[in-house]
Every structure is written in C-alpha cells, then in structure tokens.
Amino acid sequence: MKEWVDGLVEGSSLLQSLPIEVSYFLAMVFFSLVAVGWMAICALFFVWLERKVSARIQSRLGPVYVGGRFGWAQTPADALKLLMKEDLVPESADRLLFNIAPAIAFMATLLTFVAIPIGNGLVIADLDIGIFFILAVSSLGVIGIIMGGWASNSKWSLYGGMRAASQIVSYEIPVALSLIGVVMIAGTLNLVEIGRGQAGGIWNWYLFKSPFLFAAGIVYFIAALAEVNRTPFDLPEAESELVSGYNTEYSGMKFAFFFLAEFANLFVISAVAVVMFLGAWNSFLPWQILPGPIWFLGKVFFLVLVIMWLRWTLPRLRVDQLMHTCWKVLIPISMVLLIGVGVQMWLFPGN
C-alpha cells in the first residue's frame, strides 16, 4: 500500500501539496471502504449463489423474479429489507454487548480481507506474517459470536455461543497445523510470496507438491468448514436444535452483520485454501493466459460452490462427534502430515 500511495503522490501535484500524512490517511480510508465493499459484494453474491445452488440440488428454481433474469436482485433486495427493519433488542438482553457483538464479528472478517491477495501483489496490506495474521484475526470473530450469544439472554443463543466457542477454538488447531506444512515448504508466511512460489503450472501448486500436502489440503478444507460453521459443522446455528443458535434474537441490521460476516468468511477460507494450496492466481499451465485475479476468483468460486454443494448434501454432526472429529481425527492426522512434510524436506532438500 505504501508504495502505491508513494507512487500516486509522486504523480499528482494536488497530493504533493498535501502533507504526506493526509495522503496516507485518505488511502487508509479508501482501502477500508474497498475492503468493506468487496466483502459486501462477495457476501451478497454468495447468498445468491447459495440459493441458486440449493435450488438446483433440490429440483427447484430459486429466485427468478426480482431484477429480471436469474433473480439477481434478490439478495440486494433482502439486504435492503434487513437494513430497513426495526432494530429489536430483547428486553432482558444486555444492550451494550448485544449491540457491539455483530460489529466485532463483522470486524474480524473485514480485517482478514485486508491481507488476502487476489493477484500478484494485488493486496491491500502486504504483510510479512500474512497467513498468521489471517489466522489470528479470524479467531476474533468467535468473541463476537459468544458475546452475541450471551448478551441475547436466551438459552438457545447461549447454547449457540458455547458451541461456537468450543468448536472454533478447537478447529483453529487443525487449520493452523495443516497450513504449517505449506509454510514450511514455502519458507515464508507472506501470502504474496507463497502465491509466487506456485507459479509455473499445476505441478507447482502446493497441493500437488507432496502427498502430505494433498492430505493437508483436505484436512484444512474440512477444518475450515468447521471454523466458519458450515454444514456439516453448523452446530452453533443448528436450526433444528437451537432454533437459530447465537443469532436467534437478532434481527434487522445486526442480523445482517452476522450474516454478512458468515458469508464473507466463506470467501476467506476459500481464498486461503486457494493461496496456500491451489496456486493462488496462477493458471494451471506454465504460462498465464488470463489475468491473475480471474484465475484466483475462479478458483475461489469453485471452492465456494463445493462448500455449498456439501452443505445441501450432508446432515449435521453432534457436539461430541464434532469434538471427536477434531481432536481424535483431524489433529493427529495433521500432526502426522506435518512430520511427513518435515521428513520429505529432510530427505529431498531443495525440492
């Protein structure tokens, strides 16, 4: 971002007349807005996609009416409806926490958007600790969920919050462990560097670099599903058990924030999977045919599609089975895979 701003300042006489701090500040505001807009567009598009995918799987049509073809305006219309709805706060809820909980959940997701590169160098904040930053910040979201669940003062919400807390805290471990393998091979935490390391054909993608990383990719995918509460791990908002889990009492704008964060998280986990395992913005051939962002977004949407496909196929796990899956299956496997990657690097150095 710094280079970008410096370049812009050098090129513009108007900006040169301003103090450099003002330019930085304006750039910050601009990029925040870009991140928010990008996140909102992603979320709206995914909601629409989810409806269409679910409809196809269930022999239905999905939205067809609003906006003419394909019902493309259905989700903007829904968003508008949610924003205009009355802002209800349950009487016995903790008003302060109830109000800031969606903001925290939203903020956590928004922060991760800052660090995701959608093309070679196309990133708002090129962080040296990129992937670690995403892992750290996304763990903030759970605070928002617990807060919302607790502040609603509803038993269903509380159960949802508790489940979310135990689930997300547990599944962070396999997520991190499965990503460490890639970090070891790439030798950097920087997402842009990791992406550059996978240029030059599908065989250079980390998913196919080593059998251990292939398995790690699957482990990451499963664990990440659990981290963003998607079926079959959607226990925090298990509709048939907990009504709607932590967001039972939420409506209108605040519900929209939770909802937006949830769908934007889909983008985040898919984007991380793409950057870490699926060659980021590189095409699967040694030469780049289309611009990087198109490849990147194509891969992300493919993963999102798979996630939705899974969601409309699978039933839900039970709490103890969820923990069993995490602690007794995913974590041991990802540890073994990590050791495997280490052994591979030791046996075949420089490969």
Partner: protein, 381 residues
C-alpha cells in the same frame, strides 16, 4: 462459598437448566412442547406437553352425522388422512353389516398405500431435516406432490381427502388415474435408492442415528408402541398381516423390522429404516393392486341414504403409517354416533420419549422425536 469437606475433586456441583423446547420450535413437528432439563448439552429429563392442537374431535363427532365424522378423521393425522378414513369407514360398515364392493376395496387399498408412502416420505424428509440435512425434506416433498396429484384427481383435495364413504368411495378411480399410479411407481422406485444414497447410509447420518434412542423390545411392548416404532425394535407386528382388514390378506408383502444392522436393535436408524423399507413394500402392494383391480361398483348400491347403524359398539384397528389407529364406536341407533374414541398411535408412541431420552444430548433428543414421527394433530385430536 464454604467448600463442602466431603467434596472430592471432580465432584463439581453443576446447575441444571430448564429449557423450554416448543411449542414453537423447528424440530418439534408441530406444537409439541418439551420441557427439557439439561445439564450442559446433556438431557437430564424430558417432559412432553401437548394439547396445543386440541380440537375436541371426539366430542364433536357426537354431534355430526356418521358420514360427517369422516372429514374430521382427515384432520387427525393429516399426513395419512386416507388411512384415518379407512379405519373409520370400516368401523361404521361393520356396525351396519355392510359389504363393500370389490372394486371399492381395491381403491381403498391403493389410496391407503399411496398415502402410506406419502406419509413415510414426510417422515423421511423431516427426519433428515432434524438431523440437519435440508435436501431430503425438499426431495420428499417433491415426490410426495406426485401422490397428492393422484389424490387430487381422485377426490379433489391434496391434504384432507374425505374420499372414503361408508359403503364405498365418493368417486371411482378412472383408468387414467390408475395409469398415473403406475407412472408414479415407475418414477418412485429408483428414487428410493437415491434417498438411501443421500441420507440412509451417510456416515454422518449413521453416527447421529445408529445406537441413539434405543427402545428395547420389552420397553416397546410395555409402552404400547405400534407401527414402525415397534417394528424398529424388532417385532414383526403389522395389522395388515396379523389382523387383516379390507383385502390385505390377498397381497404378498414383507414386514420389515429393525435388525440393528448399524447400531443396536431399536435405535433411531432402525425406526427410520423400517419406514424406508416399508415404502418399497407399499410399492409391491400397489403393483399387485393395479394388476388385480376388478371392474365394478365403487359404492355399495344399497348404502342407506341416512346412516343409522343399529345399537351396538365396535372397535376397529387399522395399520396407519405411524402405528395402530383404533376406532371405538358406540351407536345408539341415531343419526350421529353416541361415542367415538380414537386410540391414537402417535400419542402412545410419544409417551416413550421421557423413558429413552435420559442422558442423551439435545441433538439426540431431536433425533428421537423425529424418529418417532409424531403428528400433533393426532396426539391432541
């Protein structure tokens, strides 16, 4: 807080929470209310409450004509209205001593078996939904619509059919309707395999259902369970075979029972799977019906205009999709019944819930309720 000296480490005193599940809750299949005492996620005790859908069916029946009761029976188990009609008209016909024409009997069996499939489809879909899979619900409703289309053609309604009459049916099944039934069966048989692929043998589904909510056979008998809930516990008991009514003794079909293939005998998966297998058996019966159905009257020509059964009482039970539905009628020789008592299968099936849901998790409780497949319209009547 003073610490009790007798407390050893690990003896945490935890506080139980009372959770009010329902009457408005996504998984209580209507307006059932469960008062769940929970210890964390674990259910310590369950008390079902019902009566939110009570409509005085039995009392109301005493004030309408014998025929007028039929539409009310539709509304008890609204997912199996044909079967409800069936039991009631058989009871009144036995009081009257009326023989039903052959063709009418076949139409009755066709309708009852189609409705059994429709009802089991809903059970399949809602159970899937309770476990967290939404697609089975939509698929089951998609295929159930085809049955409802046939019903709509035959009697004009999609939910509350009021098709059976004392002495026959309200209308004949025309050849194109029979063709529709045949077409449906051809469409439906491959779907059963799809349902199994999608849900029945899914590992997550098995984890959620197999070995959960086990009703041992002696408990099932002691609680008076009937229908798939009893057969799921391993007892081969089906009124269609063991106390044949109508013309069920003419057909060749099996009675699937739970075998504990994936867990223990009598678990949720067995109860669920009995229904899936029963749908295949119903298809078998329907195919035989279509092959055998004779020409003839669909209504007994000597059915009296004003129905006044002679003094007497009768108890008739039929095999509903959810269990044994019994009608106990007392006639005083008037135009309306003196007493109508219904032995509701869902009511008795529900009664077993508290006994088997101690120490399960909340998610299991949902599975148990779903696998018992209750319809509140029948429980409350």
């Amino acid at each position: 807080m003073p610490i009790d000296p007798t407390t050893r480490p690990g003896d945490f005193r935890t506080e139980e929470m009372i959770l009010n599940m329902g009457p408005q809750h996504p998984s209580t299949h209507g307006v059932l209310r469960l008062e769940v005492t929970t210890d964390g996620e674990v259910v310590a005790a369950v008390r079902p409450f019902m009566g939110y859908l009570h409509r005085c069916f039995e009392k109301h029946s005493e004030h309408v004509s014998w025929t007028g009761v039929i539409p009310y029976t539709d509304r008890m188990d609204y997912l199996a209205a044909m079967n409800n009609n069936h039991g009631y008209v058989i009871a009144v016909e036995r009081l009257l001593g009326l023989e039903v024409p052959e063709r009418a009997e076949y139409i009755r069996v066709i309708m009852a078996e189609l409705n059994r499939i429709a009802s089991h489809l809903v059970a399949f879909g809602t159970f899937g939904n309770d476990i967290g899979a939404v697609t089975p619900l939509v698929w089951s409703f998609r295929d159930r619509e085809l049955i409802l289309d046939i019903f709509e053609k035959a009697c004009g309604a999609r939910l509350t059919y009021n098709y059976y009459r004392i002495g026959g049916m309200s209308g004949d099944l025309t050849p194109d309707m029979l063709e529709d039934v045949r077409k449906f069966l051809d469409y439906f048989e491959p779907r059963l395999k799809e349902y199994d692929d999608l849900l029945s043998y899914n590992k997550i589904f098995l984890e959620r259902c197999a070995g959960v909510g086990v009703i041992p056979l002696n408990m099932a008998v002691n609680y008076g369970l009937t229908g798939p809930a009893l057969r799921g516990s391993g007892m081969r008991w089906d009124l269609r075979r063991d106390d044949p009514y109508s013309i069920y003794d003419r057909f060749d079909f099996d009675i699937p029972v739970g075998e504990g293939r994936k867990g223990e005998i009598g678990d949720c998966w067995d109860r669920y799977m009995v229904r899936m297998w029963e749908m295949a058996e119903s298809v078998k019966i329907l195919r035989q019906c279509l092959a055998q159905i004779p020409e003839g009257e669909y209504m007994h020509p000597k059915t009296p205009k004003s129905i006044k059964p002679p003094k007497g009482e009768i108890y008739v039970r039929v095999e509903n999709p959810r269990g044994e539905l019994g009608y106990y009628l007392i006639s005083e020789g008037k135009t309306s019944p003196f007493r109508v008592k219904v032995r509701s299968c869902c009511f008795t099936n529900l009664a077993v819930t508290p006994a088997i849901s101690q120490g399960v998790m909340i998610a299991d409780l949902v599975a148990i309720i779903g696998s018992l497949d209750i319809v509140l319209g029948e429980i409350d009547r």
